[in-house]
């Protein structure tokens, strides 16, 4: 059974949302780490009202599924409100990013980082 779906493979090899945002008033940062040595940093830039996420990028040290899931999540977060962001769960990430069930914990890592950020 392949451990990486096509969607995961593509995002892992060429993530479009990798990066960092300089610390500032309108930048929210969330970090999370997992037992296996994975680390994730999420950076969200919000608009002047502090409501809408204008930009979302990540840095990750983790397996291909973690990197792909983070990339998918950043794409999903862009243009959404902080309230919507709080509702993003590992189950949604697993489905959206195309993770295999055994890689569900990658979604949890993002959920944790997001919780810290917002």
């Amino acid at each position: 059974m392949p451990i990486y779906s096509d969607a995961v493979r593509k995002r892992f090899l060429a993530p479009a949302h990798a990066g960092e945002l300089p610390r500032g008033e309108r930048v929210l940062e969330g970090r999370a780490a997992a037992a296996g040595g994975s680390e994730l940093a999420l950076y969200l830039a919000v608009d002047a009202d502090g409501e809408t996420i204008e930009n979302a990028v990540f840095r990750a040290h983790g397996c291909p599924s973690c990197i792909a899931a983070a990339d998918w999540a950043c794409e999903w977060l862009r243009g959404r409100t902080l309230r919507q962001a709080r509702g993003l769960t590992a189950v949604t990430i697993e489905e959206g990013a195309g993770l295999v069930p055994e890689k569900r914990n990658c979604g949890l890592l993002i959920e944790d980082a997001l919780e810290e950020a917002v």
């Binding site: 451990i3 990486y4 493979r9 892992f12 090899l13 993530p15 990798a18 970090r31 040595g37 994975s38 680390e39 994730l40 940093a41 840095r59 990750a60 040290h61 983790g62 397996c63 291909p64 990197i67 055994e102």
Partner: protein, 403 residues
């Protein structure tokens, strides 16, 4: 189109592509071979081909043809050696000494015996990957039945100093009737390997590690003095009663041809492979935080095991194997699952877990070119750099490994 495709193939320690000359030698027997145990003309012709092949394998290790028993590969050869030595004791459990870095084809049958009441000692290795002879000697006791060592480690290429083992303990093994088994799957055709210099009673081999066909191997069983071994399978008395089953003529002909080729070319070929391996290591050291596993002064030419700091092991292997151009490389042994954790071999050598997980075995063979090496180096450097850049700053600090 060959089955290894467009990938840059650096996984020869897992399986070395069939040499076209070996294929040519095999084809007539694949197309039509009689049962070599049959007494008619075609049967006798098949038997003759089998015996020629046996002589060729024997010649490569300085043994007699009557000391070669065909098997389906090194896994079976090692299982026959270990379980056969145990079977010769008619069920009375004793003590077995092996090495913590042995291949699973050795460790698993030994651990199986451990579950049946045998006492098992797995010797540690030093940072360079070798055992300490004092520790081996100290491990031996009155009930030791079997000592099983590895000639060349499959993950690191570390060569065990078997001549030193023989010099120190050969006499002792003989006096105490301790069976000495060596797994030589990774050394056949790569290193000069004289059975009597190694002093082993049993030596396991595989054909596909030296550009022969998959699915065939052999066990050297010493005749004088006769190795104490009993069959594990029963069913027809083939192979001196040690390994029943119709001998697959095309397979053993292939192994014989592969051994003959390796014998002719070994010195020149291994020197060329070592030069390419050194070039690859020189290139990979352009990256910071790279570590070569296994002491360079005693590793076989074809294997380079490198650990990369600051990258996630699974991401590194996936990036190299899925990226473009794809590399065919392994993380540890091909048989071990990257998801199941880092290599037992590297961990036994004291490599920190994170780096052990982010280690790649590059293994070269007869068909590896200079261009393969340059492209593989370029791709690896690119991928490690990419993954390090993707990581949050803290994860890439080499200092993380100091603890």
């Amino acid at each position: 189109m060959n089955a290894t495709g467009k990938a840059i193939y650096l996984d020869n320690a897992a399986s070395a592509p069939l040499d076209p000359a070996v294929r040519e030698a095999m084809l007539p027997y694949l197309v039509s071979a009689a049962n070599p145990a049959s007494e008619h003309g075609p049967g006798r012709a098949a038997a003759e081909a089998v015996e020629t092949a046996r002589e060729r394998v024997a010649a490569l290790i300085g043994a007699g043809p009557d000391e070669i028993v065909w098997t389906s590969g090194a896994t079976e050869a090692n299982n026959l050696a270990i379980s056969g030595a145990a079977a010769a004791r008619r069920g009375r459990p004793g003590h077995i000494v092996t090495v913590a870095t042995a291949h699973k084809a050795v460790l698993d049958p030994i651990r199986h015996l451990g579950g049946l009441g045998w006492r098992v000692t797995e010797l540690p290795v030093n940072a360079g990957g070798r055992i300490d002879l004092d520790e081996l000697e100290a491990a031996l006791s009155g009930d030791t039945v079997l000592v099983s060592l590895t000639h060349v480690n499959n993950e690191t290429g570390v060569i065990e100093d078997l001549a030193a083992v023989r010099a120190r303990l050969g006499e002792y093994f003989r006096e105490r009737e301790i069976v000495f088994h060596v797994d030589a799957a990774q050394s056949l055709g790569k290193l000069p390997l004289a059975a009597d210099e190694i002093g082993a009673d049993l030596i396991g081999f595989s054909a596909h590690k030296l550009h022969g066909p998959q699915g065939v191997g052999a066990l050297y069983v010493r005749r004088r003095p006769r190795a104490r071994i009993a069959p594990v399978w029963h069913g027809g008395g083939h192979e001196q009663g040690l390994r029943p089953g119709t001998v697959p003529v095309h397979q053993v002909v292939g192994m014989g041809a592969a051994c003959a080729l390796a014998g002719e070319r070994m010195v020149e070929e291994q020197a060329a492979i070592a030069r390419r391996r050194d070039r690859l290591w020189t290139r990979l050291r352009e990256l910071s935080g790279t570590h070569r596993h296994g002491a360079a002064e005693h590793t076989v030419a074809g294997i380079l095991n490198v650990g990369f700091e600051g990258v996630h092991g699974e991401a590194l292997l996936a990036g190299l194997t899925l990226g473009a151009p794809p590399l065919a490389v392994s993380s540890g042994a091909a048989c071990s699952d990257v998801r199941a954790g880092s290599s037992h071999v590297l961990r036994a050598m004291g490599v920190p877990p994170e780096r052990a997980a982010a280690s790649i075995r590059f293994s070269l063979g007869r068909f590896t070119t200079d261009d393969d090496i340059e492209r593989a180096a370029d791709r690896t450097i690119e991928e490690v750099t990419r993954l390090r850049a993707l990581a949050p700053a803290e994860a890439t600090r080499p200092a993380a490994e100091v603890a």
